[in-house]
């Protein structure tokens, strides 16, 4: 991106989320001061940065859209910024990997502050998103890669392969062999297989890997005699929308 002689004008915004992805950015303790010096951070409520600006080079948006105010705020951010980045799973997928097959219509609810229905939507349902930084939470190194790409005017490309690709490199024992229903084969990598490396099944927080084949994972489960637990069925539905599930 051409940005003349000045520093990149960056705004960081939070919609509804746990703000853990922003905490991950602040967890870049070794790089944080350099980051603050390399960019012109003009807005970040969590840090108390509120400078005046007309236009932004980059808007980094965390969180899902859950109400009209947030929808409006998102549109305003989009209008002001050359690039818009969805930071973390709530912004990328609406945080749906934990929401699973919850249907709000099935339960009558009273919601405060004039909200008439529950929703948690990804940003690209409303605006054009230039880059997605996946994960719940995001991986700190992904954020560094993103910043470097932005500063160098390069295109940011998230990892396209699955979690297994990284898990194998770490020489982990395959959890599927232990009959643990791991979603690694269908989930986008980049997390360095952090959960399987700690003896936990991948829960699909980065969304589907590119060209993923959900049906074949179900075949693997069946082949290995892994009972497909109901909670993983609902996860798979959200990940790839498999017809057979």
């Amino acid at each position: 991106m051409y940005r003349g002689n000045g520093k990149l004008k960056v705004g960081i915004f939070s919609l509804s989320s746990c703000e853990g992805c922003l905490v991950q950015v602040l967890n870049l303790e070794d790089e944080l001061i350099d980051i603050f010096k390399a960019i012109d951070l003009v807005s970040c409520r969590l840090l108390g940065v509120e400078k005046e600006y007309d236009a932004l080079d980059v808007a980094i948006v965390e969180g899902a859209v859950t109400n009209k105010e947030e929808e409006k705020e998102l549109h305003e951010i989009r209008e002001k910024s050359k690039l818009l980045i969805a930071l973390g799973d709530c912004a990328c997928h609406g945080g749906k990997f934990i929401v699973k097959d919850f249907h709000v219509k099935e339960i009558a609810m009273w919601l405060p502050r004039g909200v008439d229905k529950f929703r948690a939507d990804p940003l690209d349902k409303y605006v054009n998103v230039d880059y997605h930084v996946y994960g719940c939470p995001i991986d700190r190194e992904d954020f560094i890669t993103l910043l470097k790409d932005l500063l160098l005017g390069r295109v940011y490309r998230p990892v396209s392969y699955n979690v297994c690709a990284e898990c194998i490199l770490k020489e982990n024992e395959c959890l599927l062999d232990e009959k643990i229903p791991c979603l690694g084969p269908i989930t986008r990598g980049g997390c360095k297989a952090i959960c399987p490396s700690h003896g936990r099944e991948c829960i699909g927080c980065r969304g589907p890997a590119e060209d993923t084949n959900v049906d074949s994972l179900i075949d693997i489960f069946r082949e290995k005699g892994i009972e497909i637990p109901p909670y993983l069925l609902s996860l798979i539905k959200n990940l790839g929308g498999a017809k057979r599930v």
Partner: protein, 427 residues
Amino acid sequence: MSEEIVVVEKIPKIEGHMNFSVVIRGGKVVKARAEALEGIRLLERLLVGMSFREVPDVASRMCGVCQAIHKVTAVQAVEDALGIELPEELEMLRKLVVIGGHLQSHILHLYFFVLPNFLGRRSILDLLPDNEELVKTVLKLKKLANALTEITGGRAVHPVTPVVGGFSKIPSRHSLERALALMKKFKELLGEPLDVILSLDMPDFKRKTTYVSLYTGRDFPLLRGKVKISGWKVFEPHEYENYIEYVTENYSSARHYVLRNGSEYMVGALARLNVNYELLSDSAKELAETYGLKFPSNRPFDNNKAQALELLHFSEEAITILEELLGRAIKTKKVPFKLSEGEGVSVTEAPRGLLIHHYKLDSRGRVEKANIITPTAQNYKCMEADALDYVTSLLGREDADVKHELEKLIRAYDPCVSCSARFFREH
């Protein structure tokens, strides 16, 4: 009668979105409102129907700052429902996961959120020109705190290893030795940053209220104990519904809690110290004396200083636990258990105060009922009561000044709005 409403909109440097408004009528402060604005994420409703295995992973997503304690509290509540008891070593390891989270959370609050305002700056970025060395030390401390959670929990934000029945992976002896070295380094670096917070001149605002904290009488509480209401009662975790209740306010997307006797109450570092001061580590107590701090204290701004003292206390506790753990073998990472119908409650101390997770499971281990009470939800009514008095004492000052002071008062509570804004009411 003339009416004026002072509103601090979208308070910066707190976790989540909140407005705070104060109504002044005829020269008197008549109303204060803590308005949680966070989109409603309905986590308790989402948990219903889920397997007990998923509960901790989902519950930890309630908050990105204090996720470690949410995860462990959820795990403990499910374990309570299933009648699971852990060997002492695993309990100790759980404490380490949580202490890393507490240290990280307190550092974020004290140095990223609180300090800039007291030094007349807007943000930690503005501290860089004059205080770069301090900021660097603070960042080092934060990294060391996160490393403790990473070593024991697998990841700093949303740790992965604590699971129902124990851990999915136990850190190696080598990693625990590394953690010990890191915590010793943490304690060593803490001196100057603590001095900066403890010598801050805070408003001398006092108000009598009730403090609620976990209490064991043996140690400074973290993950286990009874609950003590200052000046009233000590009760068992599963009795909580007999002592606290919520009110819903149409201006807020969070539940606001009060005691059953109608009184507002405060939870958090100040409440912990007010209830358990004698059990704080000796060096933390000495430090308090050096700076002339006395507990119990009814100054809400002392919550900041209580957090600073806890940084020292908890880092020392981590060192003690690590030394102890290195002296014995961790025999098992997980205890076997059977699924059964059951109901479980876990009450812990989160960085911001008392945290309650309560789950009812059916015979297949699916959640039938979930109730989560976060510290901030319990503090709203106390913030409002404080704001009434504090703003009364500021009447006559410029609006901007009042807003600034109000902001500082709210921030002293270290509110975490994302955590609190989840309530729903079924028809």
